[in-house]
């Protein structure tokens, strides 16, 4: 009776996470990443369970606290590829302060946010990205706060790579993941719109599918204003693709102590 082990993903049927997981695996293969060099860092939530269902080093920490350990891991061993997989509540709610400061540092971690615009694991409360008016067991009068705009904030704060994709457009998602993994710079944000059929009855797979639209080829991702315009677009059309890039040096490249190689390799004891 007490033996309840289950190794299959603890996600609901139809959950967008079931698209994100294999796409990540494909992207990892495509870029030829040695998984022994890969560390997946996550907080707590449905999205944050992802690292358990693939093969990598894993630091599954506290709710909202994926970025601080990810930052430190990258500083201690900058030869590791550090990928954060996190939910919208995890990253923009509980973890909001780390989000804005990780971007300021421009630490070279890849941050994949499964943005289902709801708190999945705790059963359907509003998240920072929930649409206004959405009713939940807590927001019984509907969400009253304006949604957090992670892309716009990342852009004005000078993130090195800012993109959006969606779990229902798997090819596009893979393309974005590959671009993010290949991006050899600082803080890399990929916000992934993700249907949560159990709790988000507004922003469904269909809803997203009808709205997401790849960014035009002529968009210049180094143009902050153009990037902000895209980041501010939400409604009938939701642009997906790479909104913004800049060439700021990553945080880990600025430390004299790291010129000799990874800190961890300097340890003798």
């Amino acid at each position: 009776m007490r033996a309840l082990h289950s190794e299959s993903p603890a996600w609901c049927p139809g959950c967008g996470n079931f698209s994100i997981l294999p796409t990540l695996d494909e992207a990892i293969e495509e870029v030829g990443l040695d998984r022994r060099r890969l560390v997946l860092v996550s907080g707590i939530g449905q999205a944050a369970k992802l690292p358990h269902y693939t093969r990598a080093n894993v630091f599954n920490g506290l709710h909202g606290r994926a970025l601080p350990p990810a930052t430190a891991i990258k500083l201690v061993n900058h030869e590791l590829e550090v990928v954060v997989t996190s939910g919208d509540g995890d990253m923009y709610g509980e973890g909001g302060n780390h989000f804005i400061h990780a971007i300021r540092r421009n630490i070279g971690v890849k941050c994949f946010v499964h943005n289902n615009q709801v708190y999945g694991l705790t059963k359907g409360q509003a998240s920072p990205t929930s649409d206004p008016g959405m009713e939940t067991p807590i927001q019984t009068h509907g969400v009253m706060a304006q949604p957090f705009n992670p892309l716009a904030v990342a852009i004005v704060e000078g993130a090195s790579f800012v993109a959006r994709s969606c779990a229902v457009t798997r090819d596009h998602l893979k393309e974005m993941m590959v671009a993010a993994l290949k991006h050899d710079g600082g803080f890399t944000l990929l916000d992934i719109l993700q249907p949560c059929p159990s709790f988000n009855k507004r922003n469904t797979a269909k809803w997203y599918k009808e709205r997401v639209k790849p960014i035009a080829d002529d968009h210049d991702p180094t143009d902050m204003h153009a990037a902000l315009d895209l980041a501010m677009t939400w409604g009938d059309q939701i642009p997906i693709g790479i909104l913004y890039r800049n060439e700021r040096p990553p945080f880990e490249s600025l430390w004299p102590a790291l010129e000799k190689g990874p800190l961890v390799e300097q340890y003798s004891g």
Binding site: R2, A3, L4, H5, S6, E7, A10, R35, R36, R37, V39, V41, I44, K49, P51, H52, R55, A56, N57, V58, F59, N60, G61, L62, R65, L67, P68, P69, A70, T71, A72, I73, L75, V76, N77, E79, L80, N97, H98, I100, H101, W255, P256, A257, L258, K260, L263, V264, Q266, Y267, S268, G269
Partner: protein, 555 residues
């Protein structure tokens, strides 16, 4: 004999510089010194002072009264006048003052071609003269200190010392001062000793958010980043800081965080994470009076039960609390070793008093001697981070080798993956709990002082009360009291047999603590080691003095 010099004035007047100058020169002369700070929470103004006590025998406490008060402001003069010994002397940095010798240090420095900060050279010359010391060592010391700044500066300083001596020549030897003896010429403070120990023990990463009185350790490590190959990162908040060091230790280097009570409160969840992840996170806690913001620049021992119990759920932890700069050197290393050996968080507790106090100690060794991280390097594909073992300690690998290293804050299986299998959950709890047995077996016993014959009166203390208690025992013995002391440098876990034996049976057991509740007495009682005992507590933000302890014991 001993003599207490108090330099007092506003923040920003260089009181600390003058105090350090005196302490360093006295020590270099072979005198025993003991200096403490009393600061307000402001950058300029207010009333701060630095006590420099000097003696021809080893001293380990400050004294309430000053023999020589050096007042740099009128407020200092008026407020501290009452605390000058009857046959003492007041030196006032100004043109005149009642019942005080007025020497205008600042004006003199400027008049003689120096800058305002050089006033302390003038003051030094005057003080040395009043104590009857030769000013040569003082000039020699300044020569060396300002060598790099050029001949002019060196010359000016020397001239200013002489000018100070001249201005005080009427008072030559007015205060009989102790003669140099065999005191070690080096001086430590708790902050430097702690930071140095962390650096030589192999700490490679420190993340912290500034908070008095822990900032000094953070600053020292930041200053010495290059020398020791350290990354010192200022976190956006304390939560980030503790989670960063969890990440850093996972990635493979010893790491610490420095904070005070309010910061530790924010780290409580992260501490529990380190317990679950089994990471060697070391928290340096600088105590100050609470609750909340409390008295930011004052001292306290009010966070013992908090440090012992904060963090949700049950997990092993160790607590160390050094009592002197020398113990700082030893116990910071021990904290790191314990954390790595048992893969669990450790809290190292200081307070403002210990952080700032300075005294002579034996020469220190600054060469790196990194601790054994206790990691396995041959982990292969079947590696299990949380292998169930008899000791509860599992082989720890770090990422980038052949094995995947998987950590989960949920309850997990041996591989580190999330589990809801409750049999495994219980086995993991039991595994973690077994580590406590090993920690108890290796726990440091309390240190007895002058307890050879099992004295009738036993002072129990922990952390920074070590030094004043020590001197109190000396005085009590001189006064004919059969008193001794038991000091706990490791306060958790306790080896109960060792402690029971050390306490033995006494007429009086007195717990001396810088808090209102007698928190360590609570711990000992909870552990079944004592019954009701006397409490000798202080919680107004100031440290104990030996005199005070003696008075209250004899009370």
């Amino acid at each position: 004999m001993d003599l207490n010099i108090r330099i007092a004035g506003e923040a920003g007047q260089g009181i600390k510089t003058t105090g350090h100058l005196l302490v360093d020169v006295f020590a270099s002369m072979g005198l025993w010194v003991f200096s403490t700070q009393s600061y307000m929470s402001r950058i300029r103004g207010g009333l701060n002072w630095q006590d420099v006590r000097v003696a021809d025998y080893r001293i380990t406490s400050s004294r309430d009264q000053a023999d020589l008060l050096v007042a740099l402001t009128e407020e200092a003069l008026e407020t501290l006048r009452a605390e000058v010994a009857e046959d003492g002397l007041i030196l006032y940095d100004g043109d005149e003052a009642q019942d005080a010798v007025a020497i205008n240090f600042t004006k003199t420095a400027k008049d003689e071609g120096g800058s305002a900060i050089m006033a302390n050279s003038v003051a030094g010359g005057a003080i040395f003269t009043i104590l009857g010391y030769d000013i040569k060592p003082l000039i020699g010391y300044l020569d060396e200190a300002f060598h790099a700044k050029g001949v002019e500066v060196v010359k000016t300083n020397a001239a200013l010392v002489r000018r100070g001596a001249e201005l005080a020549s009427d008072l030559q030897g007015r205060l009989p001062a102790p003669q140099p003896s065999d005191a070690p010429p080096q001086v430590y403070d708790g902050t430097e000793a702690t930071a140095l120990s962390a650096a030589v023990s192999g700490v490679k990463f420190i993340a912290a958010y500034p908070m008095t009185p822990s900032t000094g350790v953070f600053t020292w490590l930041a200053k010495n980043m290059e020398k020791y190959g350290i990354i010192a990162e200022q976190a956006e908040d304390e939560i980030a800081a503790i989670n960063m060091i969890c990440g850093a230790t996972y990635a493979g280097v010893p790491a610490i965080v420095t904070t005070s009570g309010g910061g530790l409160a924010l780290m409580s969840e992260g501490l529990s994470l380190a317990g679950m992840h089994e990471l060697p996170a070391v928290v340096m806690l600088g105590q100050r009076p609470g609750p909340a913001t409390g008295l930011p620049t004052r001292t306290a021992q009010g966070d013992l039960l908090f440090a012992l119990r904060t963090g949700h759920g049950e997990f092993p932890r160790a607590l160390f609390a050094p009592g002197s700069p020398r113990q700082c050197l030893e116990l910071m290393r021990r904290a790191l070793e314990t954390a790595h050996k048992f893969q669990t968080p450790v809290i190292y507790m200081m307070d403002q008093y210990l952080a700032d106090l300075r005294l002579n100690e034996e020469e220190r060794d600054e060469t790196p001697r990194p601790i054994d991280r206790q990691i396995v390097t041959d982990a292969g594909g079947d590696y299990r981070r949380y292998e169930i073992t008899d000791s509860g300690v599992s082989p720890r690998a770090i990422p980038s080798g052949d094995a995947f290293v998987v950590l989960d804050s949920d309850e997990h299986d041996e591989e580190g993956h999330i589990t809801e299998n409750l049999e495994i959950a219980q086995a993991m709890m039991d595994k973690r709990m077994r580590k406590i047995d090993g920690m108890i077996a290796e726990a440091l016993p309390p240190e007895a002082y002058r307890d050879d014959e099992g004295a009738g009166t036993l002072l129990i203390c922990w952390g920074s009360t070590y030094l004043p208690c020590r001197e109190a025992v000396d005085i009590l013995r001189m006064n004919g009291h059969n008193a001794s002391m038991l000091h706990f440098g490791q306060i958790w876990p306790l080896n109960r047999d060792a402690v029971r034996e050390a306490i033995g049976s006494r007429e009086r057991v007195i717990s001396v603590e810088g808090n209102a509740w007698g928190q360590f007495a609570c711990v000992l009682r909870e552990q079944g080691l004592i019954g009701e005992v006397e409490l000798l507590t202080r919680y107004d933000g100031l440290p104990f003095t030996a005199e005070e302890i003696v008075a209250r014991v004899e009370g």
